[in-house]
């Protein structure tokens, strides 16, 4: 289990869900598109700064194990399958399917680059999970009358209930001596199977009850009314503009060859002033948002909603 969303009184968490998505998408697209590892490092640094601004830095960092495990897979697989590099650092044996295992410096560097890209992408998703309230995100769609969003929202609400039910049923089964907690994983697992049947029937009864109560309150008979409307505020406008600037400048820079980096056939990373400028951009924008989030409690105009 990983740390999940906890409400904290910070600018990033208070933003409109669409604004949060815009910021995350700009970071995600940049980390996927950029070849230069400097970009990936910049995106990771920007994500770290943003998580600090949302007061979730510790939770954000706890994703490092996931980054390490999946990044290691990229680091191992790429040198094993690539024969494109010019600098052979190890001549290995002949392996069926893979052929001759010649490990090249360029393939190792490519693997490391991909591991870094994966880490950047995973940490961007970590930031999304920590700043976006799932209820608000689904609420945005539910307000438009989306039944699929309603199904997701119901599932989200019912998971804790199903977990509580499973604990209660398990306790009852323990009392009867049906459920086992000792004697190896397989034995414990086997004793959990009857739990599923009871859990299914209990949950379905609850689901049907919920549907009937919704119908009795005329759900779906007319356009839904809302107690709280989502509105864009001054803070949203600023963050959307910053995310747009980050994505626009990043894409123009990458498409225009602003930060070139070549892995094959031999490593080439010409450093120019533009490389530094494009790589610094995500960090600068994250620092601006950090500054905004420090002052937003005092600057009441940032909280103004249209």
């Amino acid at each position: 289990m990983i740390p999940v969303y906890r409400k904290k009184d910070t600018l990033l968490q208070e933003l409109h869900p669409a604004t949060q998505l815009a910021l995350i998408c700009s970071l995600l697209i940049l980390s996927l598109v950029a070849k230069n590892p400097l970009y990936q490092v910049a995106v990771i640094a920007a994500t770290a700064i943003l998580s600090a601004s949302a007061d979730v830095a510790v939770e954000w960092w706890s994703w490092w194990k996931l980054c390490l495990v999946i990044g290691l897979a990229a680091l191992i697989i790429n040198p094993l399958v690539s024969r494109m590099g010019a600098t052979v650092i190890w001549r290995g044996p002949h392996v069926p399917v893979l052929g001759r295992l010649d490990i090249t410096l360029e393939a190792v560097a490519y693997g490391a680059g991909m591991a870094l890209r994966l880490a950047a992408v995973i940490w961007v998703f970590a930031l999304l999970s920590l700043i976006m309230d799932p209820d608000r995100a689904l609420g945005l769609l539910k307000g438009k009358g989306s039944r699929s969003a309603l199904a997701s929202a119901l599932a989200l609400r019912m998971v804790p209930t199903a977990m509580r039910d499973s604990v209660a049923i398990l306790d009852a089964q323990r009392a009867r001596g049906v459920a086992k907690d000792e004697g190896g994983k397989l034995r414990v697992l086997g004793s959990r199977f009857p739990l599923m049947k009871r859990l299914v029937s209990t949950s379905l009864d609850r689901g049907i009850g919920l549907a009937e109560s919704m119908e009795s309150r005329a759900y779906g008979s007319h356009r839904r009314t809302r107690l709280v409307e989502f509105r864009f505020g001054a803070g949203d406008v600023i963050v959307v503009l910053l995310a747009g600037a980050l994505l626009g400048a990043g894409l123009v820079g990458i498409a225009g060859g602003g930060a070139p980096f070549t892995y094959y056939p031999s490593l080439s990373a010409p450093v120019s002033m533009w490389t530094a400028v494009f790589a610094a951009l995500p960090v600068v924008i994250a620092l601006i948002i950090l500054a905004l989030s420090k002052w937003w409690k005092r600057w009441t105009w940032l909280k103004l909603r249209t």
Partner: protein, 244 residues
């Protein structure tokens, strides 16, 4: 124009954009990892919009939410054993009994909601697609009751353990492995084989021990709560209904 049709039209346009980017070597457009992610998102958007446009009954929505919650709870409860989880089996049973669209929704909702607890990542959309397809295909097979019997259902569920791995690992192969050829694809899938094997074995065990009972239970709920009313038959000669 319906929104789902719009999403469907966007998909070939997007594939054309990608092909143009690849031929003309436009750096942003020829990125396989990003472009496949957007392509999968469009497919999912089409299916979600189709579901919304079909105007499903509140009871169906509640049952989808409940089954997805069960599937998520099962995934979280069994998270200690790598890839052994009842989710795939519950999704397949849901699709088999309640139809392709409901099956797709239970599958994709399971991935979306369970990753709130287990961690979102570049794999989330692919998981939504893989589990959604498991529910969709099972729903199509359920129309003619092709999976009756303990063994048939169990083998089918275990096959989806491997198919799920094949679809979900695509995010890694397409986005983070280069060059993309037979050798790299085989190596990547070989590294994940044990996880897929655990998944398939778990699915087989769940379906073998609980499959027929769960399918019977879901069918009972469907016949009790989901029904379509036939139009009232008016006796011949009293079409205006005045004599009633």
């Amino acid at each position: 124009m319906k929104k789902s049709i719009f999403a469907l039209i966007l998909l070939p346009l997007f594939i054309g954009l990608w092909a143009a980017g690849d031929i003309l070597d436009i750096r942003v457009l020829n990125n396989l990892g990003l472009m496949t992610l957007v392509g999968v998102a469009l497919v999912l958007a089409y299916c979600y919009l189709r579901f919304d446009e079909s105007g499903p009954d509140t009871k169906i929505v509640a049952i989808i939410g409940t089954l997805a919650a069960l599937s998520v709870a099962g995934r979280v409860l069994f998270a200690v054993i790598p890839n052994v989880q009842p989710s795939t089996f519950i999704i397949i049973a849901s699709g088999y009994v309640f139809g392709p669209m409901a099956g797709f929704m239970v599958g994709s909702t399971t991935a979306l909601v369970s990753n709130i607890f287990l961690g979102h990542g570049p794999w989330t959309l692919w998981q939504m697609l893989a589990w959604g397809l498991a529910g969709l295909v099972s729903g199509a097979l359920g129309r003619k009751r092709r999976l009756e019997g303990r063994w048939r259902l169990s083998l089918y569920c275990s096959a989806w353990g491997f198919l799920y791995g094949l679809i979900v690992n695509a995010y890694f192969v397409l986005g983070f492995v280069h060059p993309l050829n037979f050798r790299s694809v085989v190596t990547t899938y070989a590294m994940g084989f044990w996880f897929d094997l655990f998944h398939a074995a778990g699915n087989f065990a769940f379906a073998f021990l609980l499959g027929p009972a769960l399918v019977t239970m879901l069918r009972r709920y469907r016949s009790r709560f989901i029904f379509e009313s036939e139009p009232m038959r008016v006796p011949v000669g009293t079409e205006t209904g005045e004599s009633w």
